[in-house]
Amino acid sequence: MPTNSHPGRRDFLKTAAAGAAGAMGVSALKFDKIFAQSTGGWVAGMQINPAIDNRRVICCHDTKMLTAIPANQTWAGQNANVDEKQVGANLDQMAMLLTNKTSAADAWSTIFRSSKPWGSTKVAMKTNGIGSNTTNRPRVAIYKKITDVLVDQLGVQPSNIILYDNCDNATTYYSPSLSLTDSTKIRAVISSRASALGGFKAVTLTNAQGISCAADLVDGNIDILVNVAACKSHNGTGGHFSYGSCTLCMKNHLGTFTDGTRAQYSDNLHVGNSGASPPPPPLALFEINKHSAVLGGNPVRQQICIVDALVSNGNSGPGGGWDNKTDRLVMGTFAPIVDYLAANKILLDTTIMSKSPIPALGVTNAAIILPMFLTQFGYAATDPQWIEYTPDNVPAITPGTGGTTATGGTTSAGGSSGRGGTSAAGGTPRTGATTGSGGVPGTGGSSTPGSGGTTASGGTTSAGGTTSASSSTSDGGSTTAGTTAMSSSAGGTGGAATTAASASGGSSGTGGASAGHGTTASAAGGSAKAAALEATHGGSSGGCSVAGADRRSTPWGAMLAVGAVVAGKLRRWTGG
């Protein structure tokens, strides 16, 4: 059965990794966890989309998306002045920047993936039906654009696209804007709570009791989950701003998950803190956003996260009306980082939210909670990449460059790599990661052989392109091994990634690089000494993905490192 994902690179990596694993006696199965595409929810270090860096978030700032300030806060008013075509064009551009593709069609095909034929692929789109006629909720134009892409480009059946809010009935405000046949509307089915998603099914959580979720998400019947959130502050349980002072894509899933016996509530998921200071971590919020209903599936179910910040709530809480015109859309693949950045770059920016900023307590408590959005998923404050632009100053997209940023996950040296695509496994997790400036832009897509092992050294690029017939040199003595530049490259053509760790022994080992698909390779860092180095792309539009093996999973990294050393020694021994 043909599928619609882009498995080639991942399969290659899995194969390569499995080979390495086999050499060291490690079950290849376990590599599936490392290389993501989990079927069981969040796994540390997983990439939501192998071609898109989890950390990469695009923000379009365009004052023309709203032709005028909405006259009031009503739902009709929120939509009346939205320039649907401008929103659609911007979403295309954002998708291109997110994926580093030069055409919108390629970009959307990179973002949306399914293991099924498109004609039988099922899509759920989360919205926010809470509140009244004046509550800020995602605008119609965004869902329309997404469904246009799904239906017209990819061939998804409108009857297989479901707009839902399990908690607050989405039919209330969206029904007039939906049709299965009218292409001027959102071509989708609207679900009365979970009725079009198989009803509710109990789920067991550690941090909340008596919770249910839409059955079709729990059971994996939904292939793609689209998460669109309004941009709103949240004064938190008890008015203590306990969710990072915001309700964005992660909080939107209080409404995918609900109270088990009372579907119209998500009260059990709300954290009671009784005024505690500092506010406690919203653990249930994190747990549901790691759940297989959201991040399970292969490909991973939740494939795009959008924050509709055309207007935003500052002082007005989650059920209230918008109070600032913010003229922005935000797009990424990984909700925690999308939210972290949208909160910091929009909601907490008093120049943007000048008409009604978040109250002081909200600012204070956001500083406590928001970093948890990263740390709970293994990221650091230096990781998120915010790329904001205006339509008259769109960052250049250079296919083949910048596709890969070796997110440093590994340190490395030594290591093995194989011809044209053998990836070096290994390395130990790297921490830190200050962003380095990338090296020379890759010559994307060209046939210049990747220089494989010669690359590296922090930020130097491997000339991307095809066939990195590389190989690493593990200059003897290296005891740490193996870069994994498991890039997935967003751009360019050609060669599957090659990792080439070169280790010139010892501590100053220069990192390996990967040249994948014509991407600019990144240097994944060298030794611990160089660990902070993260080479971002050489070009302007950096790229996606990945990093070394599970950089947040020390045991795996260690095993891989050992394996890579063994592999290197075997190669030398055999003259390979």
């Binding site: 005028a68 300030i69 909405p70 006259a71 009031n72 806060q73 009503t74 739902w75 009709a76 008013g77 809470i130 509140g131 009244s132 006629n133 004046t134 908690c167 607050d168 209330t172 949240h234 004064n235 938190g236 349980t237 008890g238 008015g239 969710y243 309700t247 209080l254 119209q264 509530y265 998500s266 009260d267 709300h270 009671g272 500052g314 002082n315 007005s316 809480g317 989650p318 059920g319 209230g320 009306g321 918008w322 109070d323 600032n324 015109k325 008409k355 009604s356 900023p357 109250p359 002081a360 307590l361």
Partner: protein, 194 residues
């Protein structure tokens, strides 16, 4: 004991306390049922000239009465817990002269102290705009792009008005117009409170 149980006990206890206090701090000498309370504070169409309740086809939630924090979550999400301790809450969405809107929230907190606490919380969170005719310890507002959010308390009752549609021709907030309208709403609510 879970929060729902606590909330139920709390509401029940507060209701008993209200009865014991012979109505001195509540909405009237007799504690009104939630339905009665809702009808008392519901604005009839044109009770304020030009203002009518939003039609059900565009706003099914135009008029609701809530009696617990859990119920309120369905309306305002996790923010509901900020209102813990109310006995009855009435939410009504009104449409005024186009494009003006006003969502009126009336809550019986049973005691004046609790209503004052809630008001003080809002005032401390940046609501500092004066409403004509009202002392800043009784009513105040925060501003936004197209309107104002008003907070007030009379005895054991706490009020919020979320008002939008008050931009002038230059697309700036017409603060005088908004606060004047707010004063009219508060006058009606104060009368109803007595």
């Amino acid at each position: 004991m879970n929060r729902t149980t606590l909330s139920t006990l709390c509401v029940a206890g507060l209701a008993l306390a209200a009865v014991a206090c012979s109505g001195g701090n509540s909405a009237g000498p007799t504690v009104l049922s939630p339905t009665e309370f809702g009808q008392k504070f519901k604005f009839a169409d044109n009770e304020l000239p030009g203002w009518t309740q939003a039609k059900a086809d565009v706003d099914p939630a135009a008029f609701n009465v809530y009696t617990s924090t859990d119920d309120l979550v369905a309306r305002i999400d996790g923010a509901a817990d900020a209102y813990a301790g109310f006995r009855v809450a009435v939410f009504q969405d009104l449409m005024g002269p186009d494009p003006q809107t006003c969502n009126v929230v009336t809550m019986d907190f049973v005691t004046a102290a609790k209503a004052t606490d809630k008001f003080t919380y809002q005032k401390d969170n940046g609501a500092t705009t004066t409403i004509p005719g009202y002392d800043g310890t009784v009513a105040t507002a925060s501003t936004n792009l197209t309107g104002i959010n008003v907070y007030a308390h009379f005895n054991a009752l706490y009020f919020e008005l979320q008002m939008s549609g008050y931009m002038d021709q230059s697309q700036n907030l017409d603060l005088n117009k908004a606060t004047s309208a707010a004063a009219q709403f508060l006058a009606v609510l104060k009368t109803k409170s007595n």
